[in-house]
């Protein structure tokens, strides 16, 4: 028993502890009849002495082969670190209180949004050229008040229950939207028919394995086509603490955080889905919030309780979008010219670089 224990413990804990080996052997052989208590103490002593001496840099907890011991050592390490951190915090807090008003300002923690690589295409609101470019692009008819949005919502062929319900709910959220069954028709043939019937948008929800996973949003007369990936769709009945169904009033639209030139184009694409005159009586608002290149869509009803407090109820579906490509012209994935394409290996390499 003794003889077998000694080499195991020493191999585990120290490749450098060879000098201790002979001593331990002698001790163990002497303490033959004293039972396991002594062994345990020795083991503990060894652990402590080795723990004290084990922090020389080349030793790491992962080298211990025994899972239980490794776990114990790791927990100890973590506790040590946590204790040090708490002590540091207490010290800093004391210093801060001691200094009172003269204390340096609190450090802002680094987040990925803070560390975002500055995008040179960020739009400067006073830039004439960009304002002209935006003022005369494909959405100018809508933004100058000449056309009213009319949206056609359809899906990929033979949609399943979830997608169908999603489309119906989308149609209640977007005013003047019509849902049509796809019937296996080719989009390139659908588009001229939509144009002749004065539709301004074609929205195709793609389905995969009974769940919506993609959206093609095509602005109609000759406008850009955006292809998004949809994730995390929550239908109305899956939303907790939701309000009653949305009414027919036109909602207000909030577009958050679309700063770059590409972001502006996408933001305008969303804005042109809704009519330009929101009915504040309805107190409904649709939000497209862009964060880290993901666009979160939420639909709420708000009520002002007093001047400072607002209560909101979430209605309507919620989903997340990620832009995959923006194509100039109506839907033509083979021969169309792309204004922006997501190339994962090139663009997603840096965690702090975003494009919208």
């Amino acid at each position: 028993m003794d003889i077998t224990e000694v080499p195991v413990s020493q191999d585990n804990k120290g490749k450098k502890k060879k000098n201790k080996k002979p001593k331990k052997k002698i001790v163990k052989e002497e303490g033959n009849g004293e039972g396991s208590g002594v062994e345990k103490k020795e083991v503990e002593k060894m652990e402590k002495s080795e723990a004290a001496a084990a922090f020389p840099p080349t030793f790491s907890v992962s080298e211990i082969k025994n899972k239980q011991r490794r776990h114990l050592m790791f927990m100890k390490l973590k506790q040590e670190k946590r204790m040090q951190k708490m002590q540091l915090k207490k010290k800093k807090k004391k210093e801060r209180e001691a200094l009172g008003d003269k204390a340096p300002p609190k450090e802002v923690p680094k987040t990925i949004e803070n560390q975002r690589v500055y995008d040179e295409t960020t739009v400067d609101p006073e830039d004439e050229e960009v304002t002209f470019d935006e003022g005369t692009d494909e959405f100018s008819a809508y933004f100058n008040g000449l056309t009213n949005p009319k949206v056609l919502i359809t899906t990929s062929d033979r949609p399943r229950g979830r997608t169908v319900r999603f489309c119906e709910q989308l149609a209640t959220v977007i005013p003047n939207a019509h849902v049509y069954y796809r019937r296996g028709l080719a989009l390139k043939r659908v588009i001229p028919q939509c144009v002749s019937r004065n539709f301004t948008y074609l929205m195709v929800i793609n389905e995969d394995r009974k769940v919506p996973n993609g959206m093609v949003l095509c602005h109609l007369p000759d406008g850009p086509t955006a292809h998004f990936k949809i994730s995390s769709v929550r239908l109305r009945k899956e939303i907790k603490r939701r309000g009653k169904d949305p009414t027919e009033h036109c909602p207000e639209v909030i577009l958050n955080n679309f700063t770059t030139r590409l972001g502006h184009s996408v933001g305008r694409l969303f804005a042109a889905l809704f009519p330009q005159d929101p009915q504040f009586v309805g107190r409904q608002v649709a939000t497209f919030h862009n964060q880290r290149d993901f666009i979160f869509f939420r639909f709420h009803r708000y009520i002002f309780k007093n001047e400072k407090k607002v209560g909101i109820q979430e209605l309507g579906p919620r989903f997340t979008l990620k832009l995959r490509s923006l194509q100039k012209g109506t839907f033509d994935s083979k021969f169309g010219e792309y204004e922006w394409v997501l190339k994962r290996h090139e663009m997603d390499a840096c965690r702090r670089k975003f494009h919208l």
Binding site: F132, D133, T136, K328, E337, Y338, V341, K343
Partner: protein, 380 residues
């Protein structure tokens, strides 16, 4: 204005009608606009040098006007009306013997305009839906045109009735179906009669008018998307092509293999041009950036954000980076050199090993002198 335009080594035309000049050495872009207020029908579709000395640029716009821009003065000097907007946008612009102007519209009419008259001197019909017209750099009167379902045709302007060479479509495929063809861009290969074209069906073809074969001599494919721009390297063996997805590749014309891809573009490529002497290629496209890649190691050298979608670009023949700093830099370095020469003459000469400074650029000339100084200071 004039000094700004003299600095620019790259000229670009945008969809908003602004002519942009970029000075790569100073990393600055300048906008030159004809009218005080912008409009979309001034969209620049074609750019070319008006003379071999590259002091004037010809800018072709969507509304059918060709404007002359002087790089010395930094302003548009004249405007000519060369066609209707109904004819379609310019697909090619070139000069003949520095006095006549060659224009080609999408409808297919190629016209030669003399300086004085407002009527074309010669007219040529190249079919419908012409996508590009290019002039041979060697024989000024030879031009090539091609378009959608309109094969490559090489014309001699002195005999405008019939093309000198008409390309035949590829053989029918294995199902005996007619192959569609759509020529997007072409280039004349130097030192020979051959013409290389890129198509909307992601093929690159080389045609040889001197051989009896009217079908392509070499066929190569790249990618899955239409190839929109093409540029030949100075040696004539490699071609750079770009497609609508922003992928740019270098293809070797001897065997038709892809030699490498240039990364970085996010949007469709509209125009590519290789520098005549340096191994760099400039690309511009729908993502509103001008990118300059080095052809040897395929790295991105410069990237400039220009706020509108870019349609065409033109490189000056002088060195890209030096171009701007040449005149000013030389003056400064000469003064510095004179001062330093006096310092060196005053000091005693010590033999140094391995001192062969390359005298290519002004900057490099300064560096070895600076390093010499540093070393000497250490010893003193």
């Amino acid at each position: 204005m004039g000094d700004r335009s003299r600095l620019c080594s790259v000229w670009l035309g945008s969809e908003t009608g602004i002519l942009k000049g970029v000075s790569v050495s100073r990393k600055q872009a300048f906008n030159f606009c004809n009218t005080s207020h912008l409009s979309r029908d001034q969209e620049v579709r074609a750019l070319c040098w008006a003379d071999p000395a590259e002091s004037e640029l010809l800018v072709g716009s969507v509304d059918g006007t060709v404007k002359t821009f002087s790089t010395e003065k930094g302003a548009f000097t004249e405007t000519r009306r060369c066609g209707d907007p109904a004819d379609g946008c310019f697909t090619g612009l070139a000069t003949l013997n520095s006095s006549a102007l060659l224009t080609c519209g999408e409808c297919g009419t190629v016209r030669v305009w003399r300086e004085d008259s407002s009527e074309p001197a010669t007219e040529l019909d190249a079919g419908k839906n012409v996508c590009r017209m290019r002039q041979s750099p060697v024989h000024q009167h030879k031009i090539a045109t091609g378009g959608k379902e309109n094969g490559l045709k090489i014309w001699d302007l002195e005999k405008p009735e019939k093309p000198v060479f008409t390309a035949k479509n590829l053989r029918d495929d294995w199902l005996d179906l007619r192959r569609p063809h759509w020529v997007r861009d072409m280039a004349f290969i130097p030192d020979s009669d051959k013409v290389v074209t890129c198509t909307g069906y992601h093929q690159v073809h080389v045609f040889d008018p001197s051989s009896p074969q009217r079908r392509p001599v070499l066929e190569a494919e790249y990618g899955e998307y239409p190839l929109t721009a093409l540029s030949l390297l100075a040696d004539g063996n490699t071609v750079v092509v770009g497609n609508t997805h922003g992928q740019i590749a270098m293809l070797d014309l001897r065997k038709g293999l892809v030699r490498g891809c240039l990364k970085g573009l996010a949007g469709g490529v509209r125009w590519l041009q290789c520098h005549p002497s340096q191994p760099v290629v400039a690309s511009c496209g729908l993502d509103r950036f001008l990118r300059i890649h080095s052809l040897e190691d395929r790295k991105l050298l410069h990237k400039v954000y220009l706020k509108s979608r870019l349609n065409c670009l033109l490189l000056a023949s002088r060195d890209l980076v030096d171009g701007g700093g040449a005149t000013e830099g030389e003056g400064a370095t000469q003064e510095v050199k004179e001062e330093e020469d006096e310092v060196w003459d005053a000091m005693e000469q010590v033999g140094e090993v391995g001192e062969t400074p390359k005298r290519k650029t002004a900057q490099e000339e300064e560096e070895p002198q600076k390093s010499k100084k540093k070393r000497k200071k250490g010893r003193d």
